[in-house]
């Protein structure tokens, strides 16, 4: 039996790695992956809480998050392709027409 707090620690670490990735990375693809990492950290927390409480709602919530993450990824990747066609780059520092 692993302590519930260990799962929470794992989830926090995953979430933070995701956050750092979103903020620091320049490649849009990596940023989208980092977002997924954040959401996976959330999923770990949900599943852990669900099994600790003996409540399936945690698992259900995790499935919902995955579904939404898939939809988000689909939109994100579609936009990524459109972007690449236009600019032939997926570097966020090149996305600077809109500012100030």
């Amino acid at each position: 039996m692993v302590e519930p707090s260990a799962y929470l620690l794992l989830s926090a670490i995953l979430f933070c790695i995701g956050v750092v990735g979103v903020v620091m990375r320049r490649n849009v693809l990596i940023i989208l992956m980092s977002v997924e990492l954040m959401l996976n950290g959330v999923n770990v927390a949900f599943v852990a809480a669900g099994s600790y409480l003996g409540d399936v709602a945690g698992g259900i919530f995790a499935f919902m998050v995955m579904t939404v993450a898939a939809a988000e990824a689909a939109v994100g990747l579609a936009l990524l392709i459109a972007l690449y066609r236009l600019k032939e780059t997926i570097d966020v520092t090149e996305l600077r027409i809109l500012k100030w």
Binding site: V19, V22, V23, M24, R25, R26, I31, V92, T93, L95, R96, I97, L98, K99, W100
Partner: protein
């Protein structure tokens, strides 16, 4: 409380509003695209086809809604009349409007004898003028826009007269002011029209400021702005010393300032003559029959307050009499037909104020009614003349039109007899009532009578001068103009004829007791209005009783004297403009200074220009130089610089890189989390 038909009272203002909406839709969606200088090539050609049909629609809607409003108003008044005199007051609360603490003002209408007279005059004369406008404005491109404004005016005017509290009245008051501004400047491409609109607007603001302050004082004193509450409380509060004479004088003087602005009394009359730049039916409706009389209505409505302030009453009477004679003299030398009528209107409004000032509110409202008939008729007739002469307004270029435009001549002549005070015509009864009251009332004085009677003589003189110059003698028209002279279409002559009938017989509604009493004919008008003023203030009845102390012989004598003065004026006009037509120029040459001064309207406009406008401009200029440019601008510019540079710095944070955006979001989250952790540690 009466009800039934009266529950439809809200329809009276609502119907013109419906006209505004319908015509507004036509004006915006059908007419406006046609007026645009051909935005798209194909639409211009396609536009003309249905151009005519929408005009027909407007021509039916606009007078139709006003006519319907008149019918509804008439039914309401008839059902009100069925009640006993003391019960003739009906208040219809539509919905609560403003509720802020102690201050409440509902949208509610009040129909009592006074407001019913006003409502009938406004809708009745208004309907005729709408019909007339259909003919007069038939060549106008912005046909629908004109009727939108005109219907909007009717709506605002009916709100003004039917309101049951001062705030709602003020809404109507501002509304008619706005419409007046829009209609004076209707031909805004013309510089003088745009300027005249602006002048009316500015001068009226001075008066409105007075009205607003008065309303504020009323609320402060009475805790309400509703007529019923204010007038019921007025005697009580003046009894217990809350409402001192000084306070009542302040309130009423401020109200009078508002009335003087709207009704063009000294010193705020200067905008009205310039207002003649608007289309002639507008002059007839707004600047003769209805809107300009709003000030008189306001004072009559507030008679309970005015009677508590004898000083104000005296001011009102004196200003009224002074305006009556002053503007009548200006009317003598004017050559523009509409301007003569404009000064005549100012002068007649002076009579109404004189009546109110001596406590004869009934006489004032009676003159308001007959004046609405004959002055609207005179304006419409002059419009018909101008129409016939292809836009000529200078009387020196008219003459001999009697046979060419017979209906116009006959109707205008009837109105002239009425305004001159020829016995039997409506103006005689109402004007003589005022003259008599100004002499006999406890607040009156023989001096006021002399001034008013002299003004009546001058009125008879300049009106007959107008008629002689326009219709009699030989033609002085441009040959080109003369070729096109024609009588106006029936849409214009029919309203003229109806108004002519009213101008002739309208006076029989209010035959003075001294004449009618012998034949058992009662003074219907006075009987109808009497409950209003008795309820408002028993003191008014007292003033009327005072009049009864004078003998009937004196009254008849003064009446005969005033008729004599009027006949003398007519005779003089005949002598100068029919018999010895070279005389006027001789007189002008003989006394060039006097003639010049009167011709230039006593240089009042120039005086205002010098004393007020230029001073204000110069003072403002100085203030601007010293205060604004150096001090305020310094601060404002400094503040604006700070704002701009702060804005510039903050916006640099939005660098365009999405990672930075995410960082800002997370920083915000961390700040929030950090704050909560900090609080929990501190605890």
């Amino acid at each position: 409380m009466v009800s039934g038909i009266l529950d439809g009272l809200w329809l009276v203002p609502a119907l013109p509003l419906l006209g505004v909406v319908l015509n507004g839709i036509l004006a915006l969606f059908v007419e406006r695209p046609l007026l645009l200088p051909a935005a798209g090539p194909p639409s211009a050609a396609a536009g003309h086809g249905h151009g005519a049909s929408y005009r027909t629609l407007v021509a039916f809607i606009a007078p139709g809604v006003v006519g319907a409003a008149f019918v509804v108003a008439l039914l309401c008044v008839l059902s009100l009349a069925a009640a006993p005199p003391e019960g003739r007051i009906f208040v219809q609360v539509l919905f609560p409007w403003i509720q802020a603490g102690a201050f409440t003002a509902p949208v509610a209408f009040q129909l009592d004898p006074l407001s019913s007279v006003m409502a009938l005059v406004v809708t009745g004369v208004g309907f005729l003028i709408h019909v007339y406008s259909v003919g007069y404005m038939s060549h106008e491109r912005a046909f629908a826009r004109y009727f939108v404004y005109l219907n909007l005016f009717m709506f605002a005017m009916l709100i003004l007269v039917l309101a049951d509290n001062y705030l709602l009245m003020f809404v109507g008051w501002e509304g008619v002011g706005l419409c007046s501004y829009l209609l004076i400047g209707f031909w805004y491409e013309k510089q003088s029209a745009a300027d005249a609109g602006k002048k009316a607007f500015v001068v009226n603001r001075v008066g409105d400021f007075g009205f607003l302050l008065a309303m504020f004082l009323i609320f402060w004193t009475f805790g309400s702005v509703s007529y019923t509450e204010v007038f019921a409380k007025a005697p009580l509060l003046s009894g217990d010393g809350t409402l001192t004479t000084g306070l009542a004088t302040a309130i009423t003087l401020l109200m009078f300032l508002g009335a003087a602005g709207k009704s063009a009394q000294i010193p705020l009359y200067v905008w009205l003559p310039d207002a003649m730049e608007g289309p002639t039916p507008v002059s007839a409706l707004i600047h003769a029959a209805t809107m300009v009389t709003a000030g008189v209505y306001m004072i009559a409505r507030s008679s309970a307050l005015f009677l508590l302030a004898p000083d104000t009453m005296m001011v009102v009477a004196v200003i009224g009499a002074a305006t009556a004679i002053f503007s009548a003299t200006i009317g003598i030398c004017q050559t523009d037909i509409k301007r003569v009528l404009a000064y005549s209107t100012v002068s007649q409004l002076g009579y109404m104020f004189l009546a109110c000032g001596v406590g004869a509110f009934t006489a004032g409202i009676f003159h308001l009614t007959t004046h609405a008939f004959f002055k609207a008729l005179l304006f419409l007739g002059s419009g018909s003349v101008i129409h016939a002469l292809s836009g000529e307004q200078d009387m020196r270029k008219m003459g001999g039109l009697k046979k060419r435009v017979p209906v116009t001549f006959l109707t205008m002549f009837a109105a002239t007899l009425a305004i001159a005070g020829i016995p039997g015509f409506s103006g005689f009864f109402s004007k003589d009532e005022i003259l008599w009251k100004s002499f006999s009332s406890s607040m009156g004085s023989p001096v006021l009578w002399v001034v008013a009677a002299a003004a009546a003589g001058i009125t008879a003189f300049y009106m007959f001068r107008l008629v002689f110059l326009t219709f009699f003698g030989t033609s002085r028209m441009d040959p080109e103009v003369e070729k096109h002279v024609h009588e106006s279409p029936w849409t214009m002559t029919l309203p003229l004829s109806i108004l002519a009938v009213l101008s002739v017989i309208g006076g029989f509604l209010g035959i003075p007791a001294v004449l009618g009493g012998a034949f058992g004919v009662p003074n219907l008008f006075e009987g109808w209005l009497e409950p209003v003023f008795r309820r408002a203030a028993p003191a008014a009845a007292h003033a009327a009783e005072e009049a009864a102390h004078h003998s009937a012989a004196l009254e008849i004598g003064l009446m005969a004297l005033s008729v004599g003065i009027a006949l003398f004026g007519i005779g003089l006009a005949y002598f100068l403009y029919r018999a010895r037509t070279e005389k006027p120029d001789e007189i002008a040459r003989k006394w060039p200074t006097v003639y010049g001064v009167v011709f230039h309207k006593y240089y009042i406009d120039e005086f205002y220009e010098w004393a007020v406008v230029r001073r204000v401009v110069r003072g403002a200029d100085w203030l601007w130089q010293m205060f604004d440019a150096r001090f305020i601008d310094g601060i404002v510019d400094g503040a604006a610089d700070i704002v701009r540079s702060a804005g510039d710095r903050i916006r640099r944070l939005q660098g365009g890189i999405v990672g930075g955006y995410a960082f800002s979001l997370l920083a915000g989250a961390v700040l929030l989390v950090g704050y909560i952790l900090y609080r929990s540690i501190v605890q």
